[in-house]
Amino acid sequence: MKKKIWLLGFFVVSAMLLAGKVLVVKVMRSNLLSKPDFLSGSLAPIQKGAKLELIETQGNWYLVRNAVGLKGYIHQTAVGESKTSLSGIMPGKKGASDDELALAAKGFNEGNEKKLRGSKDYNFADVDWIMDWNIANAALAAFIREGKLK
């Protein structure tokens, strides 16, 4: 019995030490990609705040593993280092992050935008029209090919 406990302890500690650095997605949405290339296939969509385990770095790209164990690539500008432990990757974790708390304490947030809506000095309706524009990867790839761009 004692031997089993020692072994269990050994594996737990080893797992902690071998665990990769944890990254947190800082953009509203991104994708876990099949290759280190924005135009490669998306393996899974990723939302802000998602935690990813860093496996390795390839230039400006990270090979990561998400909460369900899926491996894929994400650009380094989409993520920051998480201050939480690897357990933060696990689904179901609730509560505001340090960044969210800091944001709530400051003034550059959605709450203050709402207060400005309706003012003649701010036309948010047209901003929303602009933000609705999204270009699909397939269309972008075709545009690059047609224009002999890189």
């Binding site: 800082k26 953009v27 135009l39 304490a105 550059f108 901003v127 602009i130 224009g147 002999k148």
Partner: protein, 279 residues
């Protein structure tokens, strides 16, 4: 087995972090960082909300031209450039649109909302020249130049609130938000960036154009058109340094660098764009 236990204990101690609550200390540190650090300490999400408000402010002064086909074309060119930029991922992505104004100007709000007037777009004679305007504006976003227009006293005040050293009322915070937005709008619409910021945006735009396969010389061509307009005293790139100075360092960079030109295969689709733009 005892040795194994000792090793496990040593590893555990090495990986152990104190569990005492240091939240007050970290908040104070964050506040101090804001006081001393300026724009780079603003998070991606904050940049996004400031940028939306800056764009909303500009759009209260300039009407938006809601032409779907032209806006789509502009977004395609912009996205091609963004993918090769140093900051391809931004909180809600880059977005490009047109202002229904004959004035020749272009604005980059924080968070990647880039607005071009119909006047500046009409000056472009091919897709590469249009890309040159966008590349310059994208570089301002990449280096967070718009955020640097926020007066340091505002960030100091917000840093103080964040540090918990004082509790700002919601009106105080709203005022700081609005003042920050107006700092940026004022820089974009009137004051302009510093010469150094403009030079950096121009030179980095040359590299970005080359990286995507657009002809970097297109920027030079656009600047020469701006110079011609400046002579007529029109309000062209009014917030920028003189076109002559910009042409001088762009020419120097092109002469010494190994940048290569693009080709003319994009002319057909540009002609389609022009026919829609002029309608």
């Amino acid at each position: 087995m005892k040795k194994l236990l000792l090793i496990c204990l040593c590893f555990s101690l090495l990986s152990w972090k104190p569990s005492i609550n240091l939240s007050k200390l970290s908040k104070a540190k964050k506040g101090l960082e804001l006081v001393s650090g300026a724009a780079h300490k603003i998070s991606e999400e904050e940049e996004y909300y400031v940028g939306r408000a800056v764009a909303a402010n500009i759009l209260s002064q300039y009407p938006l031209w809601k032409n779907s086909e032209v806006t789509r074309y502009l977004n395609l060119i912009g996205k091609v450039l963004v993918l090769k930029s140093a900051r391809p991922e931004i909180f809600a992505g880059y977005h490009f649109s047109l202002l229904d104004s004959n004035e020749a100007n272009a604005f980059s709000a924080p968070g990647g909302i880039i607005l071009l007037t119909r006047g500046i777009v009409a000056m472009a004679e091919n897709e590469d020249e249009l890309a040159a305007i966008l590349a310059h504006e994208i570089q301002h976003v990449v280096t967070k130049d718009p955020l640097k227009a926020i007066k340091s006293q505002r960030l100091k005040a917000l840093g103080t609130f964040a540090a918990g050293e004082a509790i700002g009322s919601s009106n105080q915070v709203l005022n700081i938000f609005q003042d920050s937005v107006l700092d940026i709008s004022g820089t974009l619409l009137q004051k302009g960036y510093s010469r150094k910021q403009e030079k950096n945006a121009d030179l980095q735009a040359l590299d970005l154009l080359a990286a995507t396969g657009y002809d970097p010389r297109a920027l030079l061509a656009m600047l020469q058109k701006v110079k011609a307009i400046e002579k007529k005293k029109a309000k062209a790139f009014s917030a920028h340094p003189s076109a002559s100075k910009r042409i001088a360092y762009v020419e120097k960079h092109l002469a010494t660098g190994s940048l290569k030109g693009g080709d003319s295969s994009r002319l057909a689709r540009f002609k389609r764009f022009v026919s829609r733009h002029r309608n």
